[in-house]
């Protein structure tokens, strides 16, 4: 029974990822030197009310490559700032603690903090040990609402069995800024397989609809700030950057568009 649930969840995650990718598959590519990062992301649905906000799902991702085939430097920091028209609402969400989900398999982590799950994604890396054929290391990402050392954080729990059973938790600190981008998510990444590995891709989609005090709430909600008379409005969805071991930081501002839901 549990296995069937797990399979269903995995299928759902895949379908959602595919859906998001299909609806918001545009990517911003940036390059410095031989290092190239493709940032992806967006929200769904993109038909949103002109006034007020509606629950949305947001996806953020990045793919890391080099143009000369060399191994990319290790990814050490992920930083994400989300447009002020998107709003996080953690009220009423139970928080999970680090030691509850690490080390643990995905199912064990979800089993431990089932109500704190706020998203999922995938994580891929390559390990190139000396004299060893490179081998991929892939894992499933599960996002938890969490508390770490008293701070409100989002845990990105990574678990994979390829090549060996192992888990890792990325801790996204939540911050607030003034201006166009209010909410920030910042995580420092540990080294992958000491000095021998590198992250090749990471994606995370966040969404959670839950009830709190009798009301239905959404982890993320957004509106479409289109000017009067216009049904579609472009907007700067998020500002994302990856910081690397060698000191390079590659970032982009992801511009997306929304459509006014209902009559203008």
């Amino acid at each position: 029974m549990r296995r069937r649930s797990t399979k269903s969840a995995a299928a759902l995650v895949a379908a959602l990822c595919l859906l998001v990718s299909a609806s918001l598959s545009s990517a911003e590519v940036t390059q410095e030197g031989n290092l190239r990062v493709s940032f992806t992301g967006g929200i769904a649905p993109n038909a949103l009310p002109r006034k007020g906000k509606a629950p949305v799902k947001a996806k953020f991702g990045g793919e890391i490559k080099t143009i000369d085939g060399q191994a990319p430097p290790q990814l050490r920091e992920i930083s994400l700032a989300i447009n002020r028209n998107g709003k996080f609402d953690f009220r009423g969400l139970p928080a999970c603690h680090y030691h509850q989900i690490h080390p643990a398999s995905t199912s064990e982590a979800i089993k431990t903090c089932p109500d704190s799950v706020i998203g999922e994604g995938i994580f891929s890396a390559h390990v190139e040990l000396p004299e060893q054929s490179p081998f991929p290391s892939a894992g499933q990402v599960t996002a938890f609402n969490g508390v770490f050392h008293g701070r409100h954080v989002i845990f990105a729990h990574v678990f994979g069995t390829t090549p060996l059973p192992q888990s890792q938790v990325l801790i996204f600190d939540l911050g607030r800024e003034s201006g166009a981008y209010r909410t920030t998510l910042t995580a420092e990444l540990p080294r992958v397989a000491a000095e021998w590995g590198y992250v090749s891709g990471v994606s995370l989609s966040l969404s959670k609809v839950f009830r709190y005090k009798g009301k239905q709430r959404s982890l993320l909600s957004a509106g479409c700030p289109a000017p009067g008379g216009a049904d579609v409005a472009p907007f700067n969805f998020a500002r994302a950057s990856f910081g690397f071991e060698d000191g390079r930081t590659l970032g982009v501002t992801m511009t997306r568009s929304c459509r006014v839901k209902g009559r203008a």
Binding site: E108, Q166, V192, W196
Partner: protein, 909 residues
């Protein structure tokens, strides 16, 4: 001539002497006998002195004893001889000889002719004259009589004689041992004549007309001056010949004489000038002819075959009455072609002749053992009517005139003398090329010397490996011109059985005496090589998996003794046997009665932890070349524990004799030393055998033991974790494997850990690359544990660090680098099974291990982290083991943790 007829003359001569001796007692003794006059003269027919080398001059030898004028011999007033010659002997210088063979000989009985004072010898048998002066007695005064060539028995080379009145005096030449000069003497000269003085004339060419007036007339008693010429039917060929060499210093004659009155007082005179004071310095050597011819024929023209040899050296004589005799051979050097070498096969059962047995320098019969004979020799000389038969024998190693390893003697028997000629065999130490040198040969003429070395499988020589137009080079040096050799090159084609010279197909045999799984059994490895193929140079043998050695408690040859092979008996593990040589009967070493070979276990050598010392006493036949010691490095394949034996280069030549290996056999037969595999699958003894030309061959033979089913297989594996029991705690894992007796060895073991244990990837510091591992240079950070293996075959456990090492698998391997008497690396493949960490040792050496302990580090070096609280439920590992005998064993052992056991009441202890 009948036996009686041959000995009758000798009897008569002896009788004459005996009668003389009987009269001796009546004489007056003197203690200071001196020749009154003595001399030698060599003249040309025209009367001038002759010093031309090789010329045929007339020879004179004269002597007289003093006459004491005051002594009356018979009471009359005439002076009497106080001394009468008894023995007179003259040594001619080497190279000077008379040749009686062409001339008619006179039977002694005809010379003695007892019924008359007239000798009845044929005129043609006269070879000179003798002037005698008799004092007292019958015939007193001076007389000239004929000197005849007498027939003689087989014990002397010649005999001459003369008669006056009823008395006969004989002169017997002999060949001196040593310098092979000619001496001639008259012994026990009759006193009937009271010989006081004599002058002996030997004619250079007896038939020369200049001697016609000096011949004894028919029915004559003596020769008178101015008598009528007497012709002869004798051939006009030389009788007497001057030496054929021209040394700077004069030659000398040695005359010795005594008297009946003083038989023990010898007067010895060295005569280096003639009576006119002209020294005997020979000259004109450049005019002496010398045209030797050399022929050498091998017994076979087949390549790479034992062969006899037929060698002939001809020196044509110059028999003309004019001119000079051919020069005699002083030195001969025969250089055989490269590739034609001495055959080791020849020495099996061969003996050698010592210097004492040969008796160089004396005239005793050689007493060489029969098995020292290498062939026959025959010498034809114009000086003797028949060939001199003899043998070629091997000389004793070093104890020969050259102090050389190899030498031979040519031993031939002549009438009354032995020819004993030492020849040096010079073998090139690198190629084995053979040179035969005879030096300082006798200054006597020969027309032909024929050496016939025996053929057959044990022939002394071996033809070259490959066909070709080979040649034998000879240098023949004459006494007349010792620095001007006549050089000739004789073809010696090898043009049969040419195939096979370049091939290399060695064969391998290997096996154990008792092919039972896990048993202790002697092991034999044998490499053979076909005759004619390239020779063996190196042998590398890899034993099958599981064919290993028990080194526990074994004595090892100390490092300081191993190079010499003088190892203690306790370190001997076997013997070695080899066969070397060419042909059907190679030489097997060791030979019966010789020192045995031995195979010793020694210590580290050429990077390998052990070595074998093969000691082969190089003793064969009469030769002893000491010990041949070959080291063989013994290593272990660290992965399979297969024994790898790499020999040093095998000696290719020993004391100039190429060692053509035909059979190399190693028998490891020390009890309980060699251990069989516990796997009954077919395995192989593999080899890399290298030829002298660098060609490699890889013969292998399958080996298989049986009765594997009789071996059990049920090892026990226990696991223990040391560390916290909470999620996220790191663990130190200990695995302990134990085996029972009479069990098959482990072949494969796989351990899957439960899901509760994750990889602590953050603790992967680094891995050891294979390059670093091979160089024993792994970084410290790549060590994640340690391991220890206890085997009943070694004195000490094998132990060492456990690394993460790069591999061909997706993940690095977990490698236990076990070190000790041997190094073993036990590599485990890491992967996952159903989400759990799994390690598989796919290739476990087929070697007995009673206990194996693997300890992985904990704490910050731990590779294992709890993914849950370990105390929630017991954890079991999944263990699958396969024995070398194919038996399988599964276990689900509980992993011991730090969790306290619950009491029966449910409380934790």
């Amino acid at each position: 001539m009948t036996r009686t007829g041959r000995f009758l003359p000798l009897l008569l001569i002896a009788l004459v002497g005996t009668l003389g001796a009987a009269a001796l007692g009546a004489s007056v003794a003197r203690a200071d006998l001196k020749f009154d006059r003595i001399g030698v003269q060599l003249r040309e027919p025209n009367g001038t002195h002759s010093r031309q080398a090789g010329a045929h001059s007339d020879f004179e030898f004269s002597f007289s004893y003093p006459v004491d004028e005051t002594t009356q011999h018979d009471g009359s007033d005439k002076p009497g001889p106080p001394e009468a010659a008894k023995d007179v002997d003259l040594e001619l210088p080497p190279g000077m000889y008379g040749n009686p063979t062409p001339f008619l000989s006179c039977a002694p009985i005809k010379l003695f002719n007892p019924n008359t004072i007239v000798p009845s010898c044929p005129i043609a048998s006269q070879i000179g004259t003798v002037d005698i002066n008799l004092v007292g007695g019958p015939g007193q005064g001076e007389h000239t009589v004929a000197l005849y060539n007498l027939s003689h028995g087989p014990d002397v080379p010649a005999r001459f004689g003369f008669k006056y009145y009823y008395a006969v005096v004989t002169i017997t030449p002999r060949v001196r041992p040593g310098d092979y000069g000619i001496s001639a003497g008259s012994f026990d000269i009759t006193q009937t004549l009271a010989l006081q003085a004599s002058r002996l004339h030997l004619w250079g060419v007896p038939a020369d007309p200049s001697h016609d007036t000096e011949r004894m007339p028919f029915q004559g008693v003596e020769i008178y001056p101015n008598q009528a010429p007497v012709s002869t039917e004798s051939p006009r060929v030389p009788f007497f010949t001057n030496p054929g060499s021209c040394p700077d210093s004069p030659s000398s004659f040695t005359a010795t004489g005594n008297s009946w009155e003083n038989p023990d007082a010898f007067d010895v005179r060295l005569l280096s000038t003639d009576e006119e004071g002209t020294p005997f310095v020979w000259e004109g050597c450049e005019n002496v002819p010398f045209k030797p011819q050399f022929v050498a024929k091998p017994g076979t023209h087949r390549a790479h075959s034992p062969t006899g040899l037929d060698v002939q050296l001809d020196v044509p004589a110059n028999d003309g009455p004019k001119g000079y005799s051919s020069a005699n051979v002083k030195r001969t050097v025969i250089e055989f072609p490269e590739g034609m070498t001495v055959s080791p096969s020849a020495v099996a059962g061969l003996g050698a002749c010592s210097e004492a047995q040969v008796g160089l320098g004396n005239n005793n019969p050689p007493a060489c053992p029969d098995n020292a004979k290498l062939g026959n020799v025959s010498i034809d000389t114009q000086l003797l009517p028949e060939s001199l038969p003899g043998e070629v024998v091997l000389a004793s190693q070093n104890a020969n005139p050259f102090h050389s390893t190899y030498a031979i003697y040519l031993l031939a028997k002549g009438p009354g003398f032995y020819v004993k000629l030492p020849g040096e065999l010079n073998l090139d130490p690198r190629s084995g090329q053979l040179r035969v040198i005879f030096d300082d040969l006798p200054q006597l003429p020969f027309e032909n010397v024929h050496l016939d070395f025996r053929g057959g499988p044990t022939a002394p020589l071996v033809t070259p490996n490959k066909c070709g137009d080979y040649t034998v080079k000879t240098e023949v040096f004459p006494w007349a011109r010792p620095t001007e050799p006549v050089v000739s090159t004789v073809p010696m084609p090898i043009d049969e059985a040419c195939e096979g010279g370049g091939e290399f197909n060695p064969r391998l045999q290997a096996g154990v005496d008792n092919p039972v799984a896990g048993a202790r059994s002697p092991l034999t490895i044998r490499v053979t090589r076909q005759d004619g193929e390239q020779n063996l140079s190196r042998i590398e043998v890899t034993l099958p998996k599981g064919e290993i050695a028990n080194l526990k408690g074994l004595e090892v040859c100390p490092d300081d003794l191993a190079p010499s092979g003088n190892c203690p008996k306790g370190s001997q593990v076997g013997i070695a046997t080899s066969a070397i040589g060419t042909g059907a009967f190679p030489l097997f070493v060791p030979q019966p009665g010789k020192e045995p070979t031995a195979l010793y276990l020694a210590g580290a050598y050429k990077g390998a932890p052990y070595s074998l010392v093969t000691k082969v006493p190089a003793q064969a036949g009469p030769f002893d070349f000491g010990d041949i010691v070959v080291r063989t490095a013994i290593d272990l394949n660290p992965v399979t524990a297969q024994v790898i034996a790499k020999s040093d280069p095998l000696p290719q030549i020993l004391e100039g004799v190429p060692i053509a290996y035909r059979d190399v056999r190693i028998e490891v037969k020390k009890p309980d030393f060699s251990v069989n595999p516990t796997s009954c699958e077919q395995r192989y003894v593999t080899t890399t055998i290298t030829s002298v030309d660098g060609t490699e061959a890889h013969p292998s033979v399958p080996t298989k033991v049986g009765d594997c089913g009789a071996l059990n297989f049920g090892p026990k594996l226990k696991f223990k974790l040391k560390g916290g029991t909470n999620r996220g705690d790191f663990q130190a894992l200990t695995a302990i494997l134990t085996t029972g007796k009479k069990e098959a060895n482990m072949s494969r073991v796989q351990v899957a850990l439960p899901h509760a244990l994750f990889l602590a990837q953050e603790h992967i510091g680094t891995v050891c690359t294979r390059v670093q591992f091979a160089a024993d240079n792994c970084p410290e950070a790549s060590i994640y544990g340690k391991a220890r293996a206890i085997t009943p075959l070694l004195d000490k456990p094998l132990e060492g660090p456990v690394y993460l090492r790069s591999s061909s698998n997706p993940l690095p391997d977990l490698v236990a680098d076990l070190q000790g008497q041997f190094d073993i690396e036990l590599a485990g493949r890491i992967d996952s099974e159903n989400g759990g960490i799994r390690n598989t040792f796919e290739t476990v050496p087929d070697a007995p291990v009673t206990k194996f302990v693997l300890k992985m580090k904990g704490g910050r070096k731990s590779l294992i982290v709890n993914s849950r609280n370990l105390c929630l439920a017991p954890m079991r590992a999944k263990v699958r083991m396969v024995g070398q005998n194919g038996k399988r064993h599964k276990e689900r052992p509980v992993i011991q943790t730090g969790c306290r056991k619950k009491s029966k009441k449910g409380h934790k202890k």
